[in-house]
Symmetry: C2
Subunit: 445 residues, 2 copies
């Protein structure tokens, strides 16, 4: 397991190698690095950027302790004086980042680091790992909420999430994406999300008769949800109805369907429950659900009141990776860019301005130089200055959840459909276009 003290070594070797080179050359001028993605992943109309302020909380605390310096020494690549420099490492720079839960589009900076170049370089992989995980999971989970159209979607994904850190931080991302609950106890407690859960098939199977299992649960957990598909779903529901008629004091909140033809089973079960007058008992569905199946079920009129989703959100299975890039855009006041084929980048520190129409809906994003005066709401905000978080950061997660909800509400409808939308209009200012052209000339000499 990764401990706080481990973090400085969660680094790709080249970052340390480059840092030593900068140190050896006395190159300590200020660099600006920008984090962005070049293209939307397949099946995504936007990326819900998350994690970029979460990681800032950790950056100020990074320290290379003696034990870890010793381990680096074993690699036989680092000079003793450089290792001494690492021992004194404190991040001293600035971080600007968009609010968590902001829908973003290609080329838009998610976060920018301004710091002595070695410091900014050392943070590369850690920042990317943090923002990648939370953005990938949030960008998938938000699609489930679109499909469920107001009905609750609960995270059942812990078992399919990639490791414990993903299972934990993922729940933070799910909250920002609008999910309403999680089965994960620790993550739910840590991130203030409703923790819920019912029973597994094993519980039903442990009893000679499934009705015994149901009765035990109903007694212990009034208003519980009963898992009815272990053997024969309709038979189970009919037997529940008989029991509830005989024992009117018993309170069941819902039944859960986890296999089979969910549409047909939900309709049949609804019918059995309604015919017996149990109209208040809800039907929850789970088992291989994703946004397309949820949309299809609701479209077909399946009487399902809520969804538990595991695999689809746990690994963001249709787009588990996002091509994030962390690129140098300025060093010692000089704009920098790549001109590699297909990967040409935009130089200089930047700001993104989101402009809205009269109804408060996002209309266009303008990517500008950091200090250009442009109309619209600037998305990047200074979170950390001189290595210290500014007052107000980290913001309470409840506030982030509510601002994420507002940012999503301002997104035009086509971007909230499951189908691909036309690209959201993102424009670069003339200043940046000129800067790119001039910088390209210099590097092509």
């Amino acid at each position: 397991m990764i401990k706080q003290e481990d973090l400085p070594l969660m680094v790709d070797l080249y970052e340390l190698a480059m840092a030593q080179a900068y140190w050896a050359e006395g190159m300590a001028d200020t660099a600006v690095f920008s984090l962005f993605f070049r293209e939307l992943p397949e099946h995504r109309n936007f990326v819900l950027a998350c994690g970029q302020r979460h990681i800032a909380e950790l950056i100020g605390q990074l320290r290379f302790t003696e034990d870890y310096i010793e381990r680096l020494r074993q690699l036989n690549r680092f000079q003793p004086e450089f290792l001494d420099w690492l021992k004194g490492f404190r991040f001293s720079g600035n971080i600007r980042a968009v609010e968590e839960g902001t829908p973003l589009f290609p080329q838009e900076p998610i976060l920018e680091v301004t710091a002595p170049i070695a410091e900014a370089q050392l943070l590369e992989s850690l920042i990317m790992n943090y923002v990648h995980l939370e953005s990938v999971l949030a960008s998938k989970a938000v699609r489930l909420t679109f499909a469920a159209d107001g009905k609750p979607v609960v995270d059942f994904g812990m078992r399919r999430m990639h490791g414990l850190d993903a299972a934990h931080r993922g729940v933070r991302a799910y909250r920002l994406a609008g999910l309403t609950g999680t089965s994960n106890v620790l993550a739910g407690l840590d991130y203030g999300m409703d923790v819920s859960g019912t029973m597994a098939h094993s519980f039903v199977q442990a009893y000679p008769d499934e009705m015994e299992a149901f009765k035990v649960y109903a007694r212990l957990y009034p208003g519980t949800t009963l898992l009815v598909d272990t053997y024969d779903t309709r038979r189970a529901v009919r037997r529940i109805v008989d029991w509830l008629r005989q024992e009117p004091g018993v309170r069941i909140g819902a039944i859960r369907l986890d296999s089979g033809d969910l549409e047909q089973e939900a309709m049949d079960c609804r019918q059995i429950l309604d015919d017996a007058g149990f109209t208040e008992i809800k039907i929850m569905a789970s088992g291989g659900l994703d946004e397309y199946r949820i949309a299809a079920l609701l479209q077909a009129g399946a009487p399902i009141d809520g969804f538990g989703v595991g695999t689809a959100i746990g690994a963001a299975n249709d787009a588990p990776a996002l091509e994030l890039a962390y690129k140098l855009t300025e060093y010692a006041g000089e704009p920098k860019m790549k001109s590699s084929s297909g990967k040409t980048s935009w130089p200089g520190p930047k700001q993104v301005f989101r402009q809205f129409d009269g109804n408060g809906m996002a209309k266009v994003d303008i990517i500008a130089g950091m200090d250009e005066p442009v109309d619209g709401a600037p998305l990047l905000e200074t979170v950390m200055a001189d290595g210290a978080l500014l007052p107000g950061f980290p913001a309470p997660l409840d506030d982030l959840v509510s601002s994420a909800r507002d940012a999503l509400a301002a997104l035009p409808e086509p971007f909230k459909r499951l189908q691909p939308a036309k690209a959201f209009p993102v424009e670069f200012t003339d200043y940046l276009k000129n800067l790119q052209a001039e910088t390209l000339k210099k590097v092509s000499v």
Copy 2:
């Protein structure tokens, strides 16, 4: 970040709810749970099972400390006496598991837990999360080694891996899968894998002229790899050749190509290097590589000597999830199974016997009852008894790497191709078939 003390709460709520129900009912008989997958993920001819013994190392140490009991109390679902029971929780059962790095097929048990039912139930999500991550990543990474056909494949995936735990434990899985190096410093040190890395484009860009960057690196890191595609790849290589001719003392190990038409660029760069007599300088490739692109490059004769792979292995992007199931197969001596539509399971504790042909190649797997005498090598071995790891566990990772290599070597060729293979023959014994039929009759009453 998840600490050791956090682990008992990395649990889905229903596991605690079921445990309380078993406790309340005094149901403490022995249960057997089996971990397996129902179907191969798309694009996989087998799953390289990993993590099943790694997690066993942690299970014996799980303790609910006072702080965590207090947090559970806040959920208002647990009785004080049950929380006292949790305080005294020590896993007291047995774990049988296949060797890590074993290629497995659908329905084959990866791990079986035999313990008082509440104890076995509490481990469900933690075991699944562990085995899922390592198996998913290893099953992808091994395909890269097949494609590279003996040429080194190095993990560059940290930035795309889902969180820090994945980035760390993933490297363990990659070692078992046969990767030869990683860029991840901490994981490489912890799991004994060669740590390597070159330079980023930012390093090249930080200098007014890329040749300056190359010279700094070559001086600090003799034999280093130079990243040549920041601006114009061929021009960079021609300038390197001119420099090396002028300074014969300088030693460069390789150049790295990270963009563009890798096949053509590798051929052109090879030509430039060879024409100048630098035949010993190797060519490394990276940038959006997966097993198909690597195979196509080598098939086309691209003179590439090694590959750095990020996204494809970092998130196992074409099959990031595996439908693992952790199912009750026996309770209090009674066989148990599900008969849900499409999810019928096999009752009883089991063993898998792998049979080999005269050349030592795997021929067929027989899934049998745990104590049935069957020919072949039994794959499940007892790792933990009465809550304690047996002598010899955990085995040194070097031993696991070598046994994984042997297990892969015994796998017939078609399963090591990138294309889909016919299903590997997996048979159930008559004993299990009868047990399933009889159990099905009982649960269908």
